[in-house]
């Protein structure tokens, strides 16, 4: 037997393989033990056999327990091991809980920012999804036309009566449906003794298919019979409750009897047809108004709406080009000077791109979408800036923590992850809070915005985008502290030679300036929007709105007994005057072109607004004469007399307007009086030429000036009684003119309210951030303040020292914001013909206001710091 080796060793390759198989923390003692066993075996059975046995023993280690087991203890810390992640969040939670004020400012600030962004997101989503509920969204279009009046190209959606049939006859290949429709107007709808005013439309039967109505009962072909009606669900409920309305009879405007042939699900609130409470057959309107068929020139009045649905393969632009000259080909020569140009306005453009100027599409509400989108982005940015600012402001405090962690072996990646998980945690809290806030604010927001927005709980897009935004916010907000703080050198920090230095504060200052630039711009914007609204509201309207009522009569009864009604009301003392007209005082519903006067350019296309009124109209609305006189019962010739407005006189270029002869459709007329301009259309638009004439048959509108000497309630009571007596078939419904007038500002007021809401939040968020930064700076300089106080500084000294920096930053922000906002707002105001100016005092006031807010925010901390007892602050170490 050969001399045994002193230390026979097992094969190395087996050890190597074991090293691959066995988890590292087991390796050392396992191989150690194995070796020992090998020695025992070698002694017992010889070297060679021991090698084999060793191999067998080693092979037995190939089992899941040794292979799979991750180290339970003594493990190196991986960056994203579950343990570490748990640790990151635990530490983050503790940090947040330790700095309560800081966490509060951060979380609420961010939550507000996110809530605003979310609200705006929902609003934008709602705007963009307008009309999209319709199945044929991509293929529905409305017929519109450009026409030139008084030298200006105007765009309108009302078209002449024969346009629909003409389209169907000559261009039918492109259109699946051509649907003529009236405007959606209130009508008196009666069932039994239930009499309500509801909005509805006369429309051609194909509309039901075009709008793909969802029928609750009946079929979509319900409008084929001219004496039928289709109700929306809500209207059906209002009249019949839960009973089945099919085949029931209803009465429209006290004259037309119709039978219910269908009930459809209410058209979406978020659509152009949301007002359509019921549909009546187009045929019924023709039956009720036989003159429609016998009109002398049916192409002349533009009073109806036409919708089309394009065929599958037809293209909007191509079809639009085809029908461009449809009117030119048909109408008589005389009308050609209006240069009518018919075109298709696709449904996708109705809501957001429906403004035209000079015959060119210039956008529309899409501007608000952009505006609010920008505001939302900025407000969110402000909130992120807060977070970054506060984190960097605290950097010196946390520098020590970073130093120690690095010294005991943290790698930079771990610190970065730590800071990011802090920001993720804050954002997560803020996100939850913001959802609660949005849920809370939504009802008020809907009211202001005239929307029915709901949280899109079930929409994956909503969740994906809001979580996506949150992640981005967390990364953006957390990046600066994460990268900046983790770069500290532990030696410097721990030796105490570390100073954040002058440059550390620069990004912070830049951020504060950005924040306040945005806030100041928003404030100035809000003020100007409100000033513009106020300016237009205070525009002299040329008549008096106080105590002026408008009633729309839908039966001829009042007109028949008009003199008796007037007599009775006047003697009762309820009113001071009453008169009839064709349009309410706040609108002008008719215009005419058949006007000729001496010195008129024969090729000129003119369009004068006019209104047919009864004798006392002027007295009723209270217009003011510049020259001449009002209509009078004493002059029989007043049947061919006109009262015109200032603008009309200027337009015609008449030197002596009173008694100037005119012709209207070849009939001679004369002007008897000139009145001050009345604002009857948009309060922002220039006044158009307007005249009044007497009408034999009165008009659809009754104007009443109630007696200011007695209470409104009692005069209304009396009027109601008299109207009930002469017109028992109609409900007594009236509107106050000043309310109607106020409605003209709805859009602007709404936008104004929304921007105010957003700017207030923006300012609040900025101040919150400022408050936080100021408090940290005050804390940082505690010792310095202590020393200063010991050396004799007053509270005022300390206060001004701490506030000075911020005041300078806000001044800088103001200097940037002022010209920017001027530029944007000037552009916005150009949209309005009747507009306010951007006066210097707005800037002065905003600047001063911001300064005060800043000072108030900072002062709280500054004074607190200044009042502190220096003994405390100096004794601390």
């Amino acid at each position: 037997m050969e001399e045994p080796k002193k230390n026979p060793s097992p094969p190395k390759w087996i050890d190597y393989l074991l090293g691959v198989v066995i988890a590292p923390h087991f390796l050392e003692d396992v191989i150690g033990d194995l070796h020992e066993v090998f020695l025992i075996l070698a002694k017992k059975s010889g070297h060679q056999k021991a090698k084999w046995l060793y191999l067998f023993a080693a092979v037995k280690y190939i089992r899941p327990y040794f292979i799979k087991r991750k180290p339970a203890q003594y493990s190196p810390t991986y960056l994203f091991s579950p343990e570490m992640i748990k640790n990151y969040f635990k530490i983050s939670l503790r940090t947040l809980a330790k700095n309560k004020a800081y966490s509060f400012i951060n979380i609420t600030g961010l939550a507000m920012g996110m809530a605003v962004a979310m609200l705006i997101g929902l609003w934008i989503y709602d705007e963009l999804s307008f009309d999209r509920n319709f199945q044929n969204y991509g293929r529905i279009a409305q017929i519109m036309q450009h026409q030139t009046f008084n030298g200006q190209i105007g765009t309108q959606n009302s078209v002449p009566f024969p346009l629909g049939p003409e389209l169907r006859r000559n261009y039918g290949a492109d259109f699946k449906y051509v649907v003529m429709s009236s405007w959606t107007n209130p009508h008196i709808v009666t069932v039994g003794d239930k009499k309500l005013s509801k909005k509805g439309t006369f429309i051609e039967p194909e509309a039901t298919e075009m709008l793909s109505l969802k029928m609750l009962s009946g079929t979509r072909s319900g409008l084929k019979d001219p004496y039928s009606i289709m109700l929306s669900e809500s209207v059906a409920k209002a009249y019949f409750g839960d009973a089945d309305p099919l085949e029931k009879t209803m009465k429209i405007d006290n004259s037309l009897s119709v039978k219910v042939t269908g009930v459809y699900e209410d058209l979406p609130f978020n659509s152009s047809f949301r007002d359509m409470g019921f549909m009546l057959p187009w045929q019924l309107m023709i039956v009720a108004n036989p003159w429609l068929k016998t009109m002398e020139d049916p192409w002349r009045p533009n009073a109806y709406l036409t919708y089309v649905q394009l065929n599958k393969h037809a293209d909007v632009d191509k079809a639009s080009a085809k029908i461009k000259d449809i009117k030119v080909k048909t109408i008589n020569k005389e009308q050609l000077k209006y240069k009518p140009e018919v075109f298709l306005n696709a449904m996708s453009d109705w809501h957001l791109y429906s403004e035209f100027k000079g015959g060119v599409r210039i956008g529309g509400r899409i501007e608000f979408v952009w505006l609010f989108g920008t505001i939302g982005a900025f407000v969110l940015l402000l909130a992120c800036i807060n977070f970054m600012n506060l984190s960097t402001a605290r950097s010196e405090k946390r520098a020590k923590e970073v130093g120690i962690r690095k010294a005991v072996g943290s790698v930079r990646a771990q610190l970065i992850t730590q800071f990011f998980s802090e920001s993720f945690l804050v954002v997560a809290f803020a996100f939850v809070l913001s959802i609660l806030l949005v849920q809370l604010i939504l009802p008020f927001f809907n009211e202001v915005a005239d929307k029915k927005i709901t949280m899109l709980w079930t929409s994956p897009v909503f969740w994906l985008s809001s979580i996506g935004f949150s992640v981005i916010t967390a990364i953006v907000a957390g990046s600066y502290p994460a990268l900046y703080l983790s770069a500290f050198q532990p030696v410097k920090v721990l030796k105490g030679t570390f100073r954040a230095g002058r440059f550390a504060a620069i990004p912070r200052k830049v951020l504060v300036v950005v924040q306040f630039t945005v806030s100041i711009t928003l404030i100035i914007g809000t003020v100007v929007v409100f000033k513009q609204i106020q300016f237009a509201k205070n525009r002299p309207v040329g008549y008096s709105r106080d105590g002026l009522l408008t009633l729309y009569r839908s039966t001829p009864d009042i007109h028949k007994h008009f003199d008796a009604v007037r007599e009775e009301l006047k003697t009762s003392g309820a009113i001071s005057e009453i008169a009839e007209s064709n349009s309410p005082a706040t609108e002008s519903w008719s215009s005419t072109s058949g006007f000729e006067w001496q010195g008129k350019d024969p090729t000129q296309s003119v369009d004068f607004n006019f209104d047919e009124v009864s004798h006392d109209y002027g007295k009723t609305i209270g217009w003011q004469f510049l020259q001449g006189r009002d209509f009078s019962r004493e002059f029989a010739t007043d049947s061919v007399a006109l009262v015109v407005n200032e603008t009309a006189v200027k337009f015609m270029g008449l030197q002596n307007p009173v008694d100037a002869p005119l012709t209207w459709f070849k009939k001679p007329y004369k002007i008897i009086g000139v009145i001050k301009d009345l604002v009857v259309q948009s309060p922002y638009a220039p006044v158009s030429p307007l005249f009044f004439c007497l009408a034999a048959d009165g008009g659809g509108v009754v104007n009443i000036r109630i007696n200011p000497a007695i209470s409104t309630a009692s005069s209304l009571e009396k009027i109601k009684k008299v109207f009930g007596k002469y017109d028992p078939g109609s409900p007594f419904e009236y509107e106050f003119v000043d309310q109607v007038y106020a409605r003209k500002f709805f859009d602007e007021v709404r936008i104004g309210k929304l921007t105010t809401f957003f700017s207030v939040l923006a300012v609040l968020i900025s101040c919150l951030g400022l408050f936080g930064v100021a408090s940290f700076i005050a804390e940082q300089r505690t010792k310095e303040i202590g020393v200063r106080k010991v050396l004799g500084a007053t509270i005022l000294n300390v206060w001004s020292m701490l506030s000075k920096d911020f005041v300078l930053l806000v001044c800088l922000a103001f200097l940037i914001a002022a010209p920017c906002s001027y530029y944007f707002l000037d552009g916005w105001l150009q949209k309005y013909e009747y507009r306010t100016d951007i006066s210097w005092w707005i800037f002065a006031l905003t600047g001063l206001g911001t300064m005060l807010i800043t000072l108030a925010t900072v002062s709280f901390q500054a004074i607190k710091a200044a009042m502190m007892n220096p003994i405390k602050s100096l004794r601390s170490e």
Partner: protein, 114 residues
């Protein structure tokens, strides 16, 4: 009642560790088990059980000094924890109780005559 659960082999390993008068590590434990039970047992089975018992908290371990015969590798010494002790005691108690519950006649060897 809260019970400790141990497999049969685990119990033996734990008992062996507890019974060891000197510092116990893989090889000594392996040897004793074989000695006591008279079975041939692979070292890997012993290791796996030891580590598992440690994870369950019945044992703790610490690394000892290096020894030349192991190629300079250290030994991992196992000691029983107080939890382990209590576990063993509970098991013993349970067994004892069960033993006592067995009726005497059942313990009589059954005689059968063919």
């Amino acid at each position: 009642m809260k019970r400790t659960f141990l497999g049969e082999f685990e119990e033996i390993v734990l008992l062996v560790v507890a019974a060891c008068t000197e510092q116990a590590y893989g090889v000594t434990i392996w040897e004793s088990i074989q000695q006591y039970t008279g079975r041939t047992i692979s070292l890997s089975a012993v290791h796996a059980t030891l580590y598992r018992l440690e994870e369950k908290g019945f044992l703790t371990s610490e690394m000892g000094g290096a020894t030349a015969e192991r190629g300079g590798r250290r030994k991992r010494y196992f000691t029983i924890t107080s939890y382990g002790n209590r576990g063993l005691q509970e098991i013993q108690q349970l067994r004892q109780q069960l033993w006592q519950n067995i009726p005497a006649e059942k313990m009589q060897p059954k005689l059968s005559f063919s």
